[in-house]
């Protein structure tokens, strides 16, 4: 009786389906594999992070069932890079696990998601080491539609190309370009709220309100306002900032720009001499990327100003004359980059590139106290190198960099980067 039922079931199963040149034996092997997989799954504890596959993967799913969006699912993403640098002038060489970043993304329901990234820099984090551990992103997104999203938390500011898309396989060169490091302080994030979305064919907007910089925290004369950004670390928030960005993306093309503006005096919260000083910082950029026939072209121009820069210089001197320096009052930078994909086969992709960068950071000098413009803030950098993708998500890099002003930075570099 049992045998006849099984025979009928198999006959119904196979008879109802086209044969397609596949033998019954092959199909039985597939069924056996499915049974083995199911057995293995029953031995494991339930995995809430498994993504729901509502349409194609579940053979028994009804076509008309409503869309499952994997509510409750948590995904892990990440990227990392390591490098070897040999400095031409000193002969010194360093090897460094520059960063390893992992992130958890969680879907609460069909519209509400969490995005996070945790970054470790320089491999070891302790009081005696150079490493840092930091939260790079932690924000919640509520999606009404592609055209209207609301977000809140610690998120990346949409200025430049690199700040939002900075995974090593997505850019050329062992190190990130210096314009989007020293002037646009990639990876630049702030605590705040914002809205973003798509409109038309290829336009994306971003606007919002966030924490601002704190001029009283400036401690590096060579990186513009970078050392004053607060990264969500007990950020002084007496002064807030606004940002806006508009980008136009088509396959192979990106054109866009962004602006960020906010006072940075923070009413003297970290430097009493800045009480009542606005010290407004405004920075903007325009950028473009174009790919045609294996040629990758990319360019960016950015400009920023810090109001009351002379008062900030005075405040830095008042706080500690020994470490004080002239605050930045204006900063400009641009770069142009060209790469050509000379070899592409399977996952392998080889693209040599050249890049020219110009950095011009002007400081509010205070000659009476011996605070002057740092000559290394007027810099031109030439980079020649090659990216070799062994997989779209894993890249080997090599380059040579020449600095026109600060020759101590001239170096040969090798790198390995990945993302998942």
């Amino acid at each position: 009786m049992k045998r006849s039922t099984l025979t009928l079931a198999l006959a119904a199963a196979f008879g109802a389906m086209p044969v397609l040149g596949q033998t019954v034996e092959e199909k039985l092997q597939v069924l056996q594999q499915e049974i083995d997989d199911l057995k293995a799954q029953t031995r494991k504890p339930a995995a809430p992070s498994l993504q729901v596959s509502p349409y194609s993967l579940d053979y028994n799913s009804m076509l008309d069932r409503s869309s499952g969006l994997a509510n409750g699912a948590t995904n892990v993403v990440g990227y990392g890079e390591m490098s070897y640098s040999k400095f031409r002038q000193s002969g010194d060489a360093t090897a460094d696990l520059t960063r390893f970043v992992f992130g958890f993304n969680h879907r609460f329901d069909e519209r509400l998601t969490l995005h996070s990234e945790v970054e470790f820099e320089h491999a070891v984090v302790s009081a005696d080491d150079h490493g840092e551990a930091e939260i790079e992103q932690a924000w919640v997104n509520y999606k009404l539609s592609d055209g209207l999203n609301f977000k809140g938390g610690l998120f990346l500011i949409p200025i430049g190309i690199l700040n939002e898309t900075h995974e090593p396989p997505t850019y050329y060169g062992v190190q990130r370009n210096q314009v989007e490091t020293r002037i646009i302080p990639t990876t630049w994030r702030e605590l705040g709220v914002g809205t973003h979305g798509l409109f038309g064919e290829g336009f994306r907007y971003d606007v919002g309100i966030t924490t601002s910089f704190d001029s009283g925290k400036l401690d590096d004369p060579l990186t513009g306002m970078r050392s004053a950004h607060q990264e969500g670390q007990l950020a002084n928030a007496r002064n807030l900032a606004v940002y806006g960005a508009l980008n136009y993306r088509l396959p192979g093309l990106l054109v866009g720009g962004g602006v960020f503006s906010g006072d940075t005096g923070q009413n003297g919260a970290s430097n009493p001499a800045l009480q009542g000083v606005a010290a407004r910082f405004t920075i903007w950029d325009i950028h473009a990327q174009y790919r045609i026939a294996g040629l990758d072209l990319q360019g960016l121009y950015t400009s920023g100003t810090l109001g009351d820069a002379d008062k900030v210089t005075a405040a830095l001197f008042a706080a500690d004359p020994a470490t004080a320096f002239a605050a930045p009052k204006s900063m400009k930078g641009w770069y142009a980059q060209a790469a050509y994909h000379v070899y592409k086969k399977g996952n392998f992709d080889v693209a040599p590139f050249v890049r020219y960068e110009r950095i011009d950071i002007r400081q509010a000098e205070d000659p009476a106290n011996g605070l002057f413009q740092n000559p290394n803030n007027d810099e031109r950098i030439k980079t020649v190198g090659v990216n070799f993708w062994v997989h779209p998500q894993v890249v080997l890099k090599a380059d040579v960099q020449r600095y026109e002003t600060d020759k101590t930075q001239d170096a040969y570099r090798l790198g390995l980067g990945f993302m998942f």
């Binding site: 389906m17 086209p18 397609l20 040149g21 596949q22 092959e26 199909k27 092997q29 597939v30 594999q33 499915e34 993504q51 596959s53 349409y55 194609s56 993967l57 579940d58 053979y59 076509l63 008309d64 869309s67 969006l69 699912a73 995904n75 993403v77 993304n105 879907r107 069909e110 519209r111 998601t113 995005h115 999606k143 009404l144 539609s145 592609d146 055209g147 209207l148 999203n149 977000k151 190309i161 898309t165 995974e167 396989p169 997505t170 798509l198 064919e201 290829g202 993306r249 088509l250 396959p251 192979g252 990106l254 990327q289 790919r291 294996g294 399977g346 997989h391 779209p392 998500q393 993302m419």
Partner: protein
């Protein structure tokens, strides 16, 4: 003052309501199939034997999650509803294959908060008439979208898989 604010508020409410209707499901797969064929034909099944699994895995970079793949076809076309992870979440896309070439592609469900540009026609039209060449790769370069690198890769892999499955479905 309040009266003056009423109209913009009403327009904002309408805009939010209209936006809320769209959500992330651009088209139900059933509706996509019905649109292609005029009605919904009975589904057929491609059995992924070990050899076919190996070919699919070579395209995807991981073993296929399914061992039996549903599809729909008539004398001229076949339709494949496939899913692949972009950066974080599954993308559901419909592929129509005719005469060994992609006839057209549509993103049916997109779940991530970034990279929705892959559903725009300017991106999807690159797949039109694409066929498999050596090594089960597409016969053309698909231009990427800045900020949507992994979603673009997922769409390309699914297109290759649809073409492979279509070829295999013809025996």
């Amino acid at each position: 003052m309040i009266r003056a604010a009423r109209r913009p508020l009403a327009m904002l409410t309408l805009a939010l309501a209209a936006a809320a209707v769209h959500g992330e499901v651009y088209q139900e797969p059933g509706a996509f199939i019905a649109e292609v064929f005029g009605s919904t034909p009975a589904p057929k099944v491609l059995w992924l034997t070990r050899e076919l699994q190996a070919q699919a895995a070579a395209i995807l970079g991981h073993p296929p999650a399914q061992l039996r793949q549903r599809y729909w076809s008539d004398a001229a076309r076949s339709v494949w509803i496939l899913e692949e992870t972009g950066k974080e979440e599954l993308i559901t896309a419909g592929f129509v294959v005719a005469d060994g070439r992609i006839d057209h592609v549509r993103v049916l469900v997109y779940r991530e908060s970034r990279g929705q540009e892959v559903r725009q026609s300017s991106f999807l039209k690159q797949f039109r008439s694409a066929k498999l060449s050596q090594g089960n790769r597409l016969d053309r370069e698909i231009d990427g979208i800045v900020g949507a690198t992994l979603s673009v890769g997922a769409m390309e892999r699914m297109a290759r898989l649809a073409l492979l499955f279509d070829r295999l479905s013809h025996g």
